[in-house]
Symmetry: C2
Subunit: 491 residues, 2 copies
């Protein structure tokens, strides 16, 4: 048999020996996934995992190969049915995007290319920069600002903090570290835990981050913030960083970004915005005004895999001052030497703006998603998730045995079933709903009260799905708080 022109003369190659057979299998695998996505709604959102399923994944290192279709079958039968269910329209637990079929294909193309976006002279870096420039435009940042993709906002928040550290201390921070700098920072009590973690990782310690109380609508209390800054200045400490939140994790509140940017400019403090949950709401015309002031941020962190429905993971950090951003990460290693020509051209490289040197092409799935759907449709979809949250709020307010625990600000609804022992009962209700497969809410605490928390993030969610969750909450509420009652449950 003559070899095809492109075939590999190397017996150690991992390319298929029989491309035709491989191709047939690949198409079967693709069909399986499309079938799965098309019929998502027919499945339980989540299901308890039997020990017999878990035990399938406790094998020693496989030394010998297994047929690819057999491995695929393990995926289809034993992995795919036992995810958390965030692709499903009735998944409302935590803020998880749903992904899209187009996003799946983008990942296939991207993995076939297998680009390392650390740097070098390649169009994939230009694609990443195109998406970054879309975001600079969207958020009203100057065109000469900088940005890169990272896994998610946890790392993006850390990068924001690290650039702010450079801004406060200068380049000596790299050699000398944080010792003796007396840096202090501010975030609201509702800020995400990753802000706190960033202070730990960056060696500043979490005590250097002041926790500022929130007002009635869960925004950082501006007066309390100003007082804290003045207190610290009197103690000869150096206020250098404010972390604002655009979409708090508990209730979706957006801090007063304009008010914060006034303070930050007056006090010469870096203003970072953690927009993991809320920033992309700027795509929705009815929500964009709520984000006013975001254009004045010194750095902005957000995720495409939440509201943006891009497959996991894809976060972004934008930095107003590209020079400071570059200074914070640029490396001078000999083997990363830059040229003006050839593959080592194209400097600066993305690895000069973040901690990763090996970087997958996560920008591509965001690029593909925005090209295929258009930003307008994505904005309308985000607007709809928030409209659904308000619909849910109104349903709760009009239902006597349900209590709303926080005003709906964005797409998060916190409520509980009213009964005696509400904390205990509502925790059980959430688990019962999850185990039933009807929906997946999560729980949190609002003012000390255990809340069932529904985050409407998935583009597939409709008002019927909201109704189904509330009906399930009430039915389980009745049966748990009054075990004698056996009201029938209709999913």
């Amino acid at each position: 048999m003559t070899k095809k022109a492109g075939s590999n003369p190397n017996p150690y190659s991992l390319d298929p020996e029989d491309w035709q057979n491989f191709r047939q299998n690949a198409h079967l695998m693709l069909d399986d996934m499309l079938e799965y996505l098309e019929t998502l709604r027919l499945r339980p959102v989540w299901q308890p995992i039997p020990e017999s399923e878990r035990s399938l994944f406790r094998n020693p290192l496989p030394w010998l190969p297994e047929d690819i279709m057999s491995v695929h079958k393990t995926f289809m039968n034993h992995i795919l049915p036992f995810g958390v269910g965030n692709s499903h329209p009735r998944f409302m637990g935590w803020i998880h995007g749903g992904g899209t079929p187009a996003g799946m294909l983008a990942e296939m193309l991207s993995a076939g290319l297998n680009a390392n976006l650390g740097g070098r002279n390649q169009i994939p870096v230009a694609v990443e920069q195109e998406v970054i420039h879309w975001m600079l435009e969207l958020f009203g940042f100057p065109d000469n600002a900088s940005g890169i993709f990272v896994t998610g906002t946890s790392i993006a928040n850390l990068i924001g903090l690290l650039v702010a550290r450079t801004a406060a201390v200068g380049d000596k921070i790299h050699e000398k570290g944080v010792e003796g700098e007396n840096l202090v920072a501010y975030a609201s009590a509702s800020a995400h835990t990753s802000i706190l973690q960033a202070f730990d990782l960056a060696g500043l310690g979490t005590l250097s981050l002041r926790s500022i109380p929130v007002n009635k609508i869960h925004q950082i209390d501006i007066v309390a913030l100003e007082n804290a800054i003045n207190d610290d200045k009197r103690k000869n400490l150096r206020p250098f960083f404010i972390a604002a939140t655009a979409g708090t994790v508990d209730v979706g509140a957006i801090d007063d970004l304009s008010g914060l940017s006034d303070i930050a400019r007056r006090e010469k403090i870096w203003l970072h915005v953690d927009g993991a949950l809320g920033a992309l709401a700027i795509l929705a015309p009815d929500l964009a005004p709520r984000l006013k002031g975001i254009e004045f941020a010194d750095s902005l962190a957000f995720d495409f895999h939440k509201l943006g429905q891009v497959p996991y993971d894809a976060g972004v950090i934008l930095v107003r001052d590209a020079v400071l951003h570059h200074q914070t990460f640029v490396s001078k290693a000999a083997y990363l030497h830059r040229e003006t020509q050839g593959v080592a051209g194209g400097s600066p490289w993305p690895c000069d703006f973040g901690p990763d040197l090996s970087r997958g092409f996560r920008a591509f799935k965001a690029w593909f998603t925005f090209k295929v759907y258009g930003a307008k449709k994505i904005g309308e979809m985000i607007s709809n998730t928030c409209a659904l949250a308000r619909y849910m709020q109104s349903r709760i307010l009009s239902t006597p045995d349900l209590e709303l625990l926080a005003p709906v600000s964005l797409n998060i609804v916190c409520f509980r079933y009213l009964c005696s022992n509400p904390d205990e009962v509502n925790a059980k209700i959430a688990i019962k709903i999850q185990e039933s497969g009807i929906a997946v809410p999560s729980t949190t605490r609002i003012d000390g009260k255990l809340a069932i928390r529904a985050a409407i993030t998935n583009h597939r969610t409709s008002s019927e799905d909201i109704d189904a969750l509330l009906a399930a909450a009430r039915s389980f509420g009745i049966s748990i708080s009054d075990p004698d009652s056996q009201r029938p449950l209709r999913p």
Copy 2:
């Protein structure tokens, strides 16, 4: 027309309106990628990027949708041909894995599932932990050690350092930061730049990392290390961290891991191994003995996307002491409250062992790759890349106008064309080879001399590819150093 049972009642959904049409397009896209991979060898490895191509990626945010096949066409014609070429058998620049067709399909499946591996009660977490346990077994770590996937070794090195910080200082590090702890650490002068960066990011400053000279075979000088530790102890500083290297970036040298582990145990210093380039060579029976002592590391960082040929990005950190690892990252945020039942079960979660809360399912492509090929074949392939490097070394040693600049330790070959002005000429040779499309080597400096550096990492590379690179280096060397000579170049 009646809607299919699984179709979406939500007009804002991003699911296809016409699944049949979407399915046809998806299969065309898959065919394009398989055709591309099958005929890789027929293409130039890399090609210079005309300004007309770059300018295609400087458009404003797209508000309106574009047909998916039109977007796909942009990918096929304007992105795919302009990557760095690391899938190609004659890519030898930097240490980039080649990816595999099976890895591409794994990413497709994984993106269809769209799991967030931050935590919660799901089989994808069990799959990640299965791969981690394969690696614990492979590297001789105890079964109760811990590990997670991260983007790559840069972040894995940072995690190793952060856990070592906890080990040295205790839990107070989180609140108090690094101030006043007098921590000092050690790595060889050939250690990767990400080790240095980790000290910057973690607030310790790069001056707290001592650069220890290397011996003739580019390993850390053990005596110099011991002297440095003793010097620091006399100054009342606290030696807490040694970063060993398994595969230096310049020449692929492996530190004396057994010798280092003896010192680390005696001095009660954390031993971290940066195995980005070399650790997976343990899969090759002929190379495994070189990694002796790796089983004594306190933490080990490595990448699957290099020698392992898993698509970008997929790195791993393993930590011997799971309790310390957990203590370093665990969060107590209310909305991340754990349950014993339901979706919020399964604690501890992966986000308790690293900085990321949103985490793609990068473990899956590693799992799929190892299942489909088997570890034995992957080890044979790695062994072959090193055999090819030795073949290249022997070819260079027997060619009078080529000079070997460092002994081949693993899969990296550093050489130059002998002539006057060798630095200038060899820099030009490297670029000419890249621009010709024949091969992609990179450059580095060895003992001050500019070296052409070929890293044989791709599973597709064969001895013919080595021959082609060397022939091109000599031809360009002659034509650059003696422009009158016009020896014909046969790729």
